[in-house]
Amino acid sequence: MRYLPLSETNRRDMLAEIGAGSVDELFKDLPKKALASARFDLPKTMSEIEVERALGTMAAKNMNCAASPAFLGCGNYRHHTPASLDYIIQRGEFLTAYTPYQPEISQGTLQAIFEFQTQVALITGMEVANASMYDGATACAEAVAMACRVTKRNQALISGRVHPHYRDVTKTQMKFLDVDVECLAPDPYGVEDLIGRLTPDLACVVVQTPGFFGHLSDYTALGEACHKAGVLLVVCVTEPVSLGLVKSPGAMGADIVVGEGQSLAGPMSFGGPGVGLFATREKFLRQMPGRLCGETTDEDGRRGWVLTLSTREQHIRREKATSNICTNSGLIALAFSVHMTLLGEAGFKRLAELNHATACDLADKLEGVKGVKLLPSAFFNEFAIALPKPAVDVVEALAKKGVLGGVPASRFYPTYPELANVMIVCATETNSAEDQVKLVTALKEVLS
């Protein structure tokens, strides 16, 4: 077994040192009954070649977006990542370290977290950000829980333009707590009224920009109304590339911003692992979940970094902690941060412009297809379209033609027949003009 360094001689010598006759003797505390009955119907050890062959066969059964024109978004995006990004995150000193419990020998991870926290705060327009959550959806649930702690209220309102997985995870996480989560119906036309629904009992309103169906909205007026009513405004961002071109949630008056960093961090990987972004205002700092890295000095007076404010966390506060989170998404946060560093201000803005221009280009082309109607008038790199046929059938037919054309809204909203013909389409810098022509041509054929 290639991963196990002990030789039989080692094992014998070590057992002699311990004073045990066999390894099995060391397991004497395990119930004999359970030991005797254990049979495992599983394969035996395999060589690297055999594992590669088996998993390679499985991988080859999937239609992958690098090999086919793909226009899929809905919270998970395919972007180009510079080659140096994957090189950096595969360095063993980052990949095979753990949570920086010993700061003297973890300054690399800690400084990277400090830079990550700063980048997230800057792009969201907020004052502070944490070291990461599991993903955008769980970060959204944590934001609602935090809003309840801050306001000492226990009702939340979720917009119909919030990603349905964020909505579902939040609802599930609050299931057994004394919190009422009201979820508005899906809003593909961007018409819902949130200000009219504010009440003095609400802890927070959760919105998303760009919205799930693609809409860009300015939530500044909502933010003002929220603050008058003592309600916190929680803004979700599932596509952080948008923040290079679109007004930041902080500028709209958000109190908590949560998001998914996958789009900048690396491959879609069937939706996980991602990285949850979490940012807020400084005055709410002590109610924040998750790890935080802060600046300090060492004994020689040199600048350094440590994990800090851990009295909020489970290992100190146990059942009174702000969250139960421990392991988060360190490596994906690093990947996010490396990409942001590579891009810089100029590259980040340019990447956002390129995404928007590509999506506008595709929108122009799709609007030329008979029977297709674009739903949002303002969008970033993604938009819902209404089709003259059920979107599920269209998507399947497009896939047969080798094009992953979009996501049917009915996959998320099976009980809303009025959404049956809605498809959500996304274009990023990875979609060439030829890809777009392939989609438009295939769509015309499918709809004819």
């Binding site: 020998i105 993903d135 599930t172 360190g330 201000e345």
Partner: protein, 511 residues
Amino acid sequence: MTLPATASGHKGLQFEQNLIFEQDTPGMTAVDLPALPTSKQRLGDVKRSGSIGLPGLSEPEVVRHYTRLSQKNYSIDSGFYPLGSCTMKHNPRLNEKMARLPGFAEIHPFQPVSTVQGAMELIDTTARWLTELTGMAAVAMSPAAGAHGEFCGLMCIHAAHDANGQAQRNVIIVPESAHGTNPATAALCGYTVESIPANDEGRVDLAVLKAKLAEHGDTVAAVMITNPNTCGLFERECIEIAEAVHAAGAYFYMDGANFNAIVGRLKIADLGVDAMHINLHKTFSTPHGGGGPGAGPTVLSAKLAPFAPVPIVVKAAEGYAVEEHAGFGAAKQALGRMKGYHGQFGVFVRALSYMMSMGADGLKQASGDAVLNANYVMARLSSELTPAFEGPCMHECVFDDRFLKGTGVTTLDIAKALIDEGFHPPTMYFPLVVHGALLIEPTETESKAALDQFVTSLLSLARKAKEGRAAEFQAAPQLSPRRRLDETKAPRRPVLRWTPPATDGAKQAAE
């Protein structure tokens, strides 16, 4: 020998590295992008204005920056990392290679299911390994990490009690030695936590547990016990514990953080377990990445299986399908959704690659070697250090600080001195039930030679402490990129992000 002062602040291969924000060349970027298509913008009235404040660096500067940062980290690749309860074992690079196959990395969670049959097969195969290794009825694959898996298990338990008309059950019994996530998770489910102390042998006292169960009667929802426990010991009476818990109408949650010690040896279903999460990043060697991502699939007994969260992969004659909505089909009684998409898919690929490499026989050998290594370290260190409990231990051994009594040296000092010796310190001051604990988990991927070097260093430090050389410890570490950092200053005036230095004009205005 004292180290020479240098004008640069660097010390040979140890580099000082400024923040990226302090290396800004405005307008610079390390990413060249193609030209923009000419299309009319459709941004409405939400266009961003003004500068964001991100720095501009070139590609060589970025690569050097992170290379230098990486060199300030201790990692498994570079040395022995016996951080108890964290299972810092070797991370095979084959797993990384497999996760990067385009057929796994470049697939989207909302492609038509017919186009991702290989991904469904991967999830189903990983699930089958986990249910076969544990003997449990089902596994919820979506939890993102250990604590999230605990949450999944307790929510299933809550849902099951509710379905059985037992909604009054609102107490979770947890040993004092438990990881902090256990009580924190119980609180997230709206439960009250009742603690029970450990006995002198570092284990749950069955009589005390039974008394606690009797005291709280039909309000007990579950008992949560880590096994092997946080003292590195197997709960010998766990079958009796399970029987007592079931007799009280409650469920038995086993925290599987330490499953790596027993994998391939017994099936936890035979212990009477109702739910257990498995940290794929520990037992199945997916990288810890400086703090994640992990994955915490939760195996469930037949009684709890119907409540597992969506998504649920379903194998049918014509291929795989997936139920993504609670209340429908295979997810009729599902408690809801705990995470976006299909769980930590990329972590599943790595874990499956590891499990296939090891095989059932290799996994049994791995738990055997992990336990052998821990007992060897315990036996060798016992000449100078004081083990907290009698062995044999499982995959980790714990020492208390009796051996330091009267020396003026603390557990923290020993840990910091180990840094100068070139080792990552063990977990300190945990479990809380052991005074001044040092929790050492060597893992099975360390050679005898590596263990011997560590033992030699730790024994020499113990002798040094006993010789009255406390002052030398208080200065440690001296050879690391930073010396002891002021951890009380950081929270007093938190600086959690970089801010541009005030310009002269702003400074004057402030004055």
